[in-house]
Symmetry: D2
Amino acid sequence: MPPADRFANSTEFYVRYVETDAMRIVNHAHYISWMEESRSEYARGRGSDYAAFEREGVALAVVELNVNYKSSARYGDRVRVTCWIEELKSRLMKFGYEIHNATTGVLLVTATTRHVCINLETGAAAVIPERWRTAMAK
Amino acid sequence: MPPADRFANSTEFYVRYVETDAMRIVNHAHYISWMEESRSEYARGRGSDYAAFEREGVALAVVELNVNYKSSARYGDRVRVTCWIEELKSRLMKFGYEIHNATTGVLLVTATTRHVCINLETGAAAVIPERWRTAMAK
Amino acid sequence: MPPADRFANSTEFYVRYVETDAMRIVNHAHYISWMEESRSEYARGRGSDYAAFEREGVALAVVELNVNYKSSARYGDRVRVTCWIEELKSRLMKFGYEIHNATTGVLLVTATTRHVCINLETGAAAVIPERWRTAMAK
Amino acid sequence: MPPADRFANSTEFYVRYVETDAMRIVNHAHYISWMEESRSEYARGRGSDYAAFEREGVALAVVELNVNYKSSARYGDRVRVTCWIEELKSRLMKFGYEIHNATTGVLLVTATTRHVCINLETGAAAVIPERWRTAMAK
């Protein structure tokens, strides 16, 4: 569960048919993309914008991913992806996630991702711009 | 443009990062999945449900796809996918589509898809269940 | 079928699990990505390289897509994607495709795509570099 | 690195354009699908077949995923995915992975996945069929 002391963003959408596989459930890889979209929504929820972040010449590269799959989702299910910042340092960010079936409330996935800020041109580690760090954490 | 005499469904969402490619625009394959999701929304907009349709033992298999790409979409863009039924026969359906940038109104894609109803168990062509045909066309 | 008077490239690979959907067959959108990969292999088959093409500051943007789905593929099937150049002008290319089950020989898909050459920086239409045009068509 | 005392399977392929994103590198979600395909190849390398496994009415559901991203891959890169069995119990399997750039030898990703065997009809935990367990571990 998101810590009580900080902002958490929740996004809801329907499971797309293309996201299912021959087991008739959502393929495990697609949860990773939902988490990515949830980070985008987090930034929007903070009045910020990840595209603007990249226009400053930096990006957040994923360096670690840990996912626990608890229950499965099916085509047409309404799912809710919640994410929050676990840790925010000058060059690093860690996000926490929970994904639920929005209708039944069943927990589908818990996860974390770690990111490093990199300079888009050189690929070298970079400091997260102060303005963006403040916007994300507030 | 959707014919004036019939229902058309419009769905809006943000472009996901995973949908872009190294040209920094949405990869052309993903529009196909957006169109598929738009058909799902069409059914919901008619008070119906494609998952329920499949639970009756039938499915709509895509047999033809025609897409014209007019302009490109980028990460974070808000897009609007509109679809409507071009043709509805006992065993066949044809959908028409337009995809716009929802913010600027720029037309991105026009497309059509043709579908045949098949029996999910045998794969043989089947008649679209009357109840569903009525729901979709009303 | 590819015209007898020109080079055609064939690529074989296994259907990935993630490419299937809840109908237990390959989702129709993934054939589009297979065709894209087949164009990459075409370039490699000509001793060329699409990545090098883009490093010259130009790209081939897809402007039209026409696909006919004849039969379906399943997880683990070996498929063969064949492509060839239908038309090659100073700013335009058209590819033709056939996709078969490589084991049974059954035809799965026929398709064409049309592309325009664009300047990657400005997005404006551009002339296909002569050297590359020659390499592709030889 | 795969333990010296057991079989490890390596698969090579080219990075597809659709697998890249606007950072001009492979999107982190696609490595998950490469790992899935690598498990398919592992089964083929053991003279077995995951499709046949599922035809026996059971499946291996992913319950945990841990990935460390070390370096990035780009369009057209030749990558090599290596996987092996870390642990094999009556109802559980754990796979280990390494993904390299096959040309330069640079390590891109290390990962593990945990799976439970489930009955495809009921979704309940099931024992991995003995015959298949033997084939995989030999």
